[in-house]
């Protein structure tokens, strides 16, 4: 049983790690702000959820799991909000969503 | 563990000197304050590194588990105080920079000196 839990949790953690990695590569490689945000959002969603789930399995039924659940809930509310705020701020600053262009943050003031 | 200890100390030195460099070399006043923050943070790292005991845990007693090894609480207390001192200095420094910008219209040290020389 303990072994099974360990395996499950490690699979979750590894999968979460993989998503975080993909998100990171995406944020580096994508051409402009909106596509980068799109790639980075993988880290917020699948990455965070899987890692926290993996840690929850490790912790078992303890106070720590409840705290982790609270963190997860918090993340599910805040990360879309912050992505939204970021994108809307970018719009206000005049960066046009255009997948083809490479208008970068560094180029625009 | 030995390697990590040396590495911690060296990172302390490197970060300390990066901060120090920013303070002495940069001309922009806000950049100087940012450097000052880094400079002070490095010292925090020095203190906290020495508080660590291998196999120890945070110095908060647990009723259920006894016989634990605890890390040293004293440097942690000192650094709590030092962090507060650091943010206070930063805040005051920023207040001064804002006033300088209002009076001189710039936050670059060389331009301020030039204006004063006139």
């Amino acid at each position: 049983m303990a072994l099974l839990l360990d395996i499950v949790s490690w699979v979750l953690l590894a999968a979460g790690g993989a998503f975080v990695l993909v998100g990171g590569i995406g944020a580096l490689r994508m051409p402009n702000l909106y596509t980068r945000m799109h790639a980075a959002s993988v880290t917020d969603t699948m990455g965070a959820v899987l890692v926290i789930a993996g840690v929850m399995v490790q912790a078992g039924l303890t106070l720590a799991t409840i705290k982790l659940a609270a963190i997860l809930l918090f993340l599910l509310i805040t990360s879309p909000t912050s992505s939204y705020a970021l994108a809307s701020a970018a719009m206000l600053a005049g960066i046009k969503p255009d997948a083809g262009s490479a208008a970068d943050l560094e180029d625009s003031p | 563990m030995e390697f990590l200890g040396i590495y911690y100390y060296w990172v302390f030195v490197v970060v300390l000197m990066i901060g120090f460099y920013a303070v002495v070399a940069k001309v922009n006043l806000i950049k100087k304050l940012i450097g000052l923050s880094i400079f002070q943070s490095a010292v925090f790292l020095l203190y906290i590194t020495m508080s660590k005991v291998s196999g120890g845990t945070a110095p908060i007693f647990n009723d259920e588990i006894t016989g634990l090894l605890y890390s040293n609480p004293l440097p942690q207390v000192l650094i709590l105080t030092a962090i507060v001192v650091g943010i206070s200095t930063t805040a005051l420094g920023l207040g001064i920079v804002v006033r300088i910008k209002e009076e001189y219209g710039t936050t670059e040290e060389n331009e301020i000196q030039e204006i004063d020389r006139r």
Binding site: - | V23, M50, T89, I100, E103, E109, D116
Partner: protein, 501 residues
């Protein structure tokens, strides 16, 4: 000893510190000043009481929270701290009493409560350093006093005060952080923060290298805060553009408090534990002291703004104090410590006189002061008395400490001759720069004075003038009746040198 007297060391710090927040709430005009002056007077009274006790051969110890020294924080007042406490609280009180009119002019009424609150915090912070016996506690109070003095200096009406105070902040913080690194390294090797405990425990440390590095960091960090040449670059502008009353207060004591910590560490903690530390200390600091005297005085000779002139002279005077210390002898150290007291008297008087001048002269460039002696004879006379004391003319306080320094130099053999030459040369340069002011004030006709106004006597407000003259007279008093400061300084020197062979 009675029960309240036991609490005096902590009251010295806590009284101004706890009155400071209350000042913020005092909105009506003048009340903030009155309350601050009252608090400062109370601190002065406590300092006198402590000095009396110390002169009676007593050393005050205080365990905060009832926790004994290495575990809790201890306070200690001995003759050295008493000497500096007298200077500190006296300077603050004199500056406040005399400075009312000047501060009212320089600080807008609605900002005064905040300003005076910062004043008391600076006073409390400096007093806290002087009574502390714990290395980290010194850091905390150093920061209170530094932050408060930045606020005070930034109160200056000239916008050039702001870049000056920014430089002061950056260099002060670097100094404090260096000090913190040094304390951290010592703590790493000994496991203690109490100064008395360090003195004993560093001895047991086999590996000395971190201690050596710590000694370097602490000495350099404190030298920065004490404006030891060549780390003095923040001082002239900060003193010049600060409000006049603040210059009186800070010039008399702020840098000396850092010197006090420096001496405490180098002579007591390190001297006891590092082989040949006295030699290194002297080799490192004596050249700096000599350079400070020569360069500081030389720059002062060519400076045209009176406040800046005196600020550079302060750099030189710090050099004298350090020169005494770096001779590492009983006489030399006594002379240095005595010079802390006497320089505070003379420079305090001079800056008080400058404050009086500023009531009539908006511009303190020398050429604008032409004929000032006819307009403000009392002020200029006080300035001359202060100047004579700064030069070290017999019969004034400045002479006593210079005499000590000269006799100490005589003990040093061939090197002593050179030091004597430096001291004499420094004093001669002081004659020159004081003379320049006298020349401008007495022997130069005002360039284009409005007709009729030239002969008018427009003195500074009475209270300001009275305090200035009290300060001037104390220069003469302590030049003739030297018992109290000498006793304090010599006892302190003997105490600091207890680890020398």
């Amino acid at each position: 000893m009675t029960a309240p007297e036991l609490h005096l060391p902590v009251l010295q710090v806590v009284v101004p510190m706890l009155i400071a927040p209350l000042i913020v709430l005092l909105r009506p005009q003048g009340l903030a000043w009155a309350a601050t002056t009252a608090a400062s007077l109370l601190s002065f009274a406590i300092a006198i009481q402590l000095t009396t006790g110390v002169l009676g051969g007593h050393t005050y110890q205080y365990a905060l929270g009832g926790w004994e020294a290495p575990f809790g924080i201890a306070l200690e007042v001995n003759s050295l701290s008493a000497l500096l406490l007298l200077v500190l609280t006296g300077a603050s009180t004199a500056a406040l009493l005399a400075g009312k009119a000047s501060l009212d002019r320089q600080i807008e009424a609605h900002r005064q409560p905040l300003f005076f609150s910062a004043w008391l915090l600076a006073l409390a912070g400096l007093a806290g350093i002087l009574v502390a016996a714990d290395a980290f506690n010194i850091f905390v109070f150093m920061e209170i006093s530094s932050l408060a003095s930045y606020v005070l200096v930034a109160g200056g009406p000239d916008r050039r005060a702001l870049p000056a105070v920014f430089k002061y902040l950056i260099m002060g913080t670097i100094g404090a952080t260096f000090y913190l690194i040094g304390v951290g390294l010592i703590y790493m090797m000994t496991g203690t923060l109490s100064l008395a405990d360090m003195e004993i425990r560093i001895h047991e440390v086999a590996e000395q290298r971190p201690i050596l590095v710590a000694a370097g960091f602490i000495t350099v960090g404190l030298a920065l805060k004490a404006a030891v040449f060549p780390l003095h670059v923040w001082l002239p502008n900060a003193y010049t553009y600060a409000p006049h009353a603040v210059t009186v207060f800070l010039a008399a004591c702020a840098t000396k408090v850092s010197l006090f910590v420096l001496l405490k560490f180098d002579f007591v903690v390190f001297q006891h534990n590092l082989l040949g530390h006295d030699v290194q200390f002297a080799a490192f600091l004596m050249p700096l002291a000599v350079l400070a005297i020569l360069v500081g005085s030389a720059v002062a000779m060519f400076e045209s703004n009176v406040k800046r002139l005196f600020a550079y002279s302060s750099v030189a005077q710090i050099g004298y104090i350090l020169l005494g210390a770096s001779m590492v002898s009983y006489l030399g150290l006594s002379g240095g410590l005595l010079h802390i007291f006497n320089h505070a008297l003379s420079k305090g008087t001079l800056f008080l006189a400058v404050m009086c001048l500023s009531m009539q002269y908006a511009n303190l460039q020398l050429e604008h002061l032409a004929g000032a002696a006819r307009r403000m004879p009392w002020t200029m006379a006080a300035l001359v008395v202060g100047g004579l004391s700064l030069i070290g003319v017999p019969g004034t306080a400045g002479f006593v400490s210079k005499w000590y320094l000269l006799t100490a130099a005589l003990e040093q053999g061939a090197l002593g001759m050179f030091l004597i030459a430096v001291i004499v040369l420094g004093s001669l340069m002081a004659v020159v720069y004081i003379w320049r002011i006298i020349e401008a004030a007495w022997f130069t006709a005002p360039a284009e004075a409005p007709p009729g106004a030239q002969q008018m006597r427009t003195e500074a407000p009475t209270l300001m003038l009275v305090v200035t003259w009290l300060a001037a007279l104390s220069n003469i008093w302590f030049g003739l009746v030297t018992h109290v400061p000498r006793e304090l300084a010599t006892t302190a020197a003997a105490n600091l040198l207890r680890h020398l062979p």
